[in-house]
Symmetry: C2
Subunit: 149 residues, 2 copies
DNA sequence: ATACTTAGTTAAAAAAATCAACTTTGTATA
DNA sequence: TATACAAAGTTGATTTTTTTAACTAAGTAT
């Protein structure tokens, strides 16, 4: 029991995938993000998922702090599922996948545009300090600093 | 044989995950992206992966045009694995995962900074047309246009 | 009292991943 | 010349995970 196979690799990507990389998991989080918060709403939106798997995934995500339950009816006691901040912050991951898909899928369903102008958008990297667009990024190990050029 | 279980959901995310969402797949692509192009290099970097699975995943990714092989030695004929453009363009997905991980993992290994200033970066969206940063994005179904406010 | 709905649970079957040993082709070494 | 070694896998058995399908429990509605 409880013998989850997890990646034992010292890398943000692998460790993040240990939380959100199981089959169906990202799709479940995405359904909640777009407003489907009831068990059966999620189930109906995700054609092919089974009750037991959805139930198990929701529990796992709750344990890991991405999802929380909220009582929405007292008298048949009923809970809905909400995303926590860390769940909501997967939005950039979803958008990156949507944009990748819009370029590379044979059949594509969605694109991402500027809500004001309707222009198509791309992903960029911006300095947290100045808000300026960053020309070149570097992935660095935590603890180390980059040598200044 | 060859009965892959795939998501049958009309959504860029689900369809993208049908290509890159299997266990180990994103990690394999990432290893190639960071320069590990030989079968055994990838295998050694990904502690726990088995030869048969790596072999199968590489074939699948090649079929789907994310990876290609290149002869790097004639006389023991040896191939290395390279990413195609569509494979390389997963970089934003990796970066989104690295950034999410750097905020939410208990133990975090990497962060992303401005290569010039060392400032930490965040993800933003810019217009393909003007290059300006976009304040609010909208995910829209393909084919439809958004009503202008 | 009977049927229906929401939100699951349980158990068996099927599919996928892991583990471990083996193969093939070629190189290097004693 | 034989022996060991390495790269790049393949094969088959075992284990884990997912799917399928039927069932349950608590409350509502007719």
């Amino acid at each position: 029991m409880e013998t989850k196979t997890r990646y034992d690799i010292p890398c943000n990507i692998a460790q993040s995938l240990n939380i959100i990389g199981d089959r169906w998991t990202l799709l479940i989080i995405h359904e909640i993000l777009v407003g489907h918060t009831l068990f059966n709403e999620i189930k109906k939106s995700l054609k092919g998922i089974s009750s037991n798997l959805l139930s198990e995934r929701l529990k796992y995500l709750e344990q890991h702090g991405l999802v929380e339950t909220e009582l929405y009816s007292e008298h048949p006691p009923r809970y809905c599922y909400k995303l926590t901040e860390s769940g909501k912050e997967l939005e950039d991951v979803f958008n990156a996948l949507i944009i990748w898909g819009s370029k590379h899928l044979k059949k594509c369903y969605k694109k991402i545009i500027d809500a004001e102008t309707g222009d198509e958008v791309e992903i960029g990297y911006y300095s947290k300090k100045t808000g300026e667009r960053v020309k070149r990024i570097a992935v660095v190990p935590i603890g180390e600093e980059i040598e200044s050029k």
